[in-house]
Amino acid sequence: MSMLKIENLHARVEGKEILKGLSLTVNAGEVHAIMGPNGAGKSTLGNVLSGRDGYEVTAGSVIYNGIDLLALEPEARAAAGVFLAFQYPVEIPGVNNTYFLRAAFNAQRKARGEKEFDSMQFLKLVREKLKVMQISDELLHRAVNEGFSGGEKKRNEIFQMAVLEPQLAILDETDSGLDIDALKQVAQGVNTLRSPDRAFLMITHYQRLLDYVVPDFVHVLADGRIVESGDKSLALKLEEHGYAGIGEGAAA
């Protein structure tokens, strides 16, 4: 059974149809890159999968580990192992980063019927993850994303992913706005988390991230549908020729 099976997905935002029959299958252990021009529906896909308000699914289905993902509330999707790394992580003044992460971690465990971690257990886990991800613990003491630089925000997303250990991670333009050093750090974090049980959906505009996180599959999303799929060489082709001409004659 595939981990994620999206079939003929149609979705509207503010009455406008953005996704127009998108189909995609993702298996455990795979890394899929979704590329495409602006306005193709890349971020809409991430938002629909994570359950953000304001996205209306008008047709199609999303089956995740055999369940209807679209029927779940955002928090239930998270507990089921779906994680969205935000394109624009939100600043939340007054909420400590560690406190927030523990609340999320324990809420997920509780929802799965697992025992919650006390603060000592959780701190131990967090320290291990910091080490693996090579992130300074200074991040822990600040309010969630408050005053973080663009790079710090994206690294914080990857750090949260490391702690929450999702099965399906959706990275929404995690590479945008990063300089090359920050990009490498984020990529290294993602690579560390690659595993046979985990799948990644990397939504990106540029090929550059894929130099560091090598995908198993590359899909081109245009006008609300996957118009071409291939291996990593497709990304290189896009880099060379742009999106013009892609999808013509493809099995859409």
Partner: protein
């Protein structure tokens, strides 16, 4: 004069016998205030300061005056204990001093702390200025002071607290006002007189708590005088019984270079009103006020902050947050006056509010009047809802919607408590806030 029968509330409050102090001037003050209350009656919503707080329902109710059984009321002593606070304590139950619940042994040198009822048995003359309050009775047609008048007439007990010049009291002093369930609905009154001498320092914790279900009416009036260079940290926790009515007035006077920092938490009560008035009468006086009011259910919590800058280079900074849920109503008025001659003053006021339910209401009114030169002043007020993007961010990480709302609301409130120096107390306040949030 009205030909109508007096309102039940007014009639029942006037029905109470005045406390007999045996002190000629004080008995005269009490009589005069009672007459002023009888003549002026209750304010209606045409009185500007009561525009958003209607007394119509309260006015139809009657309250028995004083609690003859106050000494016998069972109060759980553990409910009086606060983390990070372990010092002298003065406890009143339904307005009556309770020696058994208080802690007055081994007071630090330079600290006078006693119930008003005892202080009046000694030399009452030092209390004369504070207790006389001629302004309350001057204009009988002015009804806005109705509760202060009935308090001045009827309060037989309260707090007398003095810190001698240059004494820095290290341990916090705790004042606890307990409303305890009784066989009848009670009205009770307390009068507090607090004075810090020149260069004195004090941390004061004022608590309002409820013991058992009740629908009492309590009035409290506090006069706080800070002499030159005195420094007061004052935290007020209002968490009285959910049905109780509590009307307080705190009047501060800050002499030259005096500093006061107030943290106020308003959680309990049915109808709650706090007039917080501060006069900065000495050069360089500094006032910081922080507060959170959080009405839910059908609570009505009204804070009226009035600050007068009357001297050179005085500073006030006020930061208040309101959160209203269900069908509750919050009212905030922040009025700052920079009087002629108060040049070089710096006044800022912020009041931000959250509405958690479509039926909740918050009325906020910042006012600024400046009559001096070279003044820095800023004020602002907002009313809004929780940020949807933040909510989704939390939920997308697995935090259930209700928990995410509580977390964001607590963070919104906590911002004004951050500078409370006593960490254990700060944590406790934060926990009280969270406990009040819908889960």
């Amino acid at each position: 004069m009205s030909q109508l029968a007096p309102l039940p509330l007014v009639a029942s409050l006037l029905d109470a016998p005045l406390p007999d102090s045996g002190i000629t001037w004080l008995d005269a003050v009490r009589r005069e205030n009672r007459e002023a209350f009888a003549a002026g009656g209750l304010p209606d919503t045409r009185v500007e300061a009561w525009k958003y707080t209607a007394l119509r329902a309260l006015a139809q109710r009657s309250f028995a005056s004083g609690d003859a059984d106050a000494q016998a009321r069972a109060v759980d002593p553990s409910a009086l204990v606060l983390p990070g606070v372990d010092g002298p304590r003065l406890v009143f139950v339904n307005g009556v001093f309770r020696a058994d619940l208080s802690a007055l042994d081994s007071l630090p040198a330079g600290l006078t702390l006693q119930p008003l009822s005892q202080a009046l048995q000694g030399d009452a003359e030092p209390l004369r200025f504070a207790l006389s309050r001629p302004a309350l009775i001057r204009d009988a047609r002015e009804s806005g002071d109705a509760f202060a008048r009935i308090n001045a007439a009827s309060a037989g007990d309260g707090v007398v607290l003095r810190v001698a010049a240059n004494v820095k009291v290290a341990t916090p002093v705790q004042l606890v006002f307990v409303g305890a369930a009784a066989e009848v609905d009670l009205a009770w009154h307390a009068r507090n007189v607090i004075e810090l001498g020149e260069g004195a320092e004090l941390t004061l914790i004022e608590q309002h708590v409820g013991s058992g279900e009740q629908v009492h009416l309590a009035t409290l009036v506090s006069d706080i005088e800070l002499r030159e260079g005195a420094c007061l940290h004052h935290t007020a926790l209002q968490n009285t019984a959910i049905g109780a009515n509590l009307i307080r007035r705190s009047s501060l006077r800050l002499h030259a270079r005096a500093q006061a920092t107030l943290h106020v938490l308003e959680l309990g009560g049915a109808l709650v009103r706090h007039d917080l008035q501060a006069e900065l009468i000495g050069d360089g006086a500094q006032l910081d006020t922080r507060g959170v009011f959080m009405p839910h259910g059908r609570q009505h919590i009204d804070t009226q902050l009035a600050i007068r800058h009357q001297a050179l280079n005085t500073t006030s900074n006020s930061n208040w947050r309101g959160v209203a849920n269900d069908r509750a109503r919050g009212v905030f008025r922040g009025a700052i006056v920079v009087a002629p001659g108060a040049d070089g003053s710096d006044a800022s006021l912020s009041n931000k509010n959250l509405l958690l339910s479509p039926s909740a209401e918050i009325d906020t009114k910042p006012e600024l009047e400046i009559y001096a030169d070279e003044v820095k002043a800023a004020h602002g007020a907002t009313v809004g809802q929780l940020d949807e993007r933040s909510l989704f961010y939390l939920c997308s990480r697995g935090i259930p919607q209700a928990e995410a709302r509580a977390l964001l609301t607590a963070a919104f409130c906590r911002a004004v408590l951050d500078d409370l120096p006593n960490e254990a107390l700060r944590e406790h306040l934060s926990a009280m806030l969270v406990a009040q949030l819908p889960s």
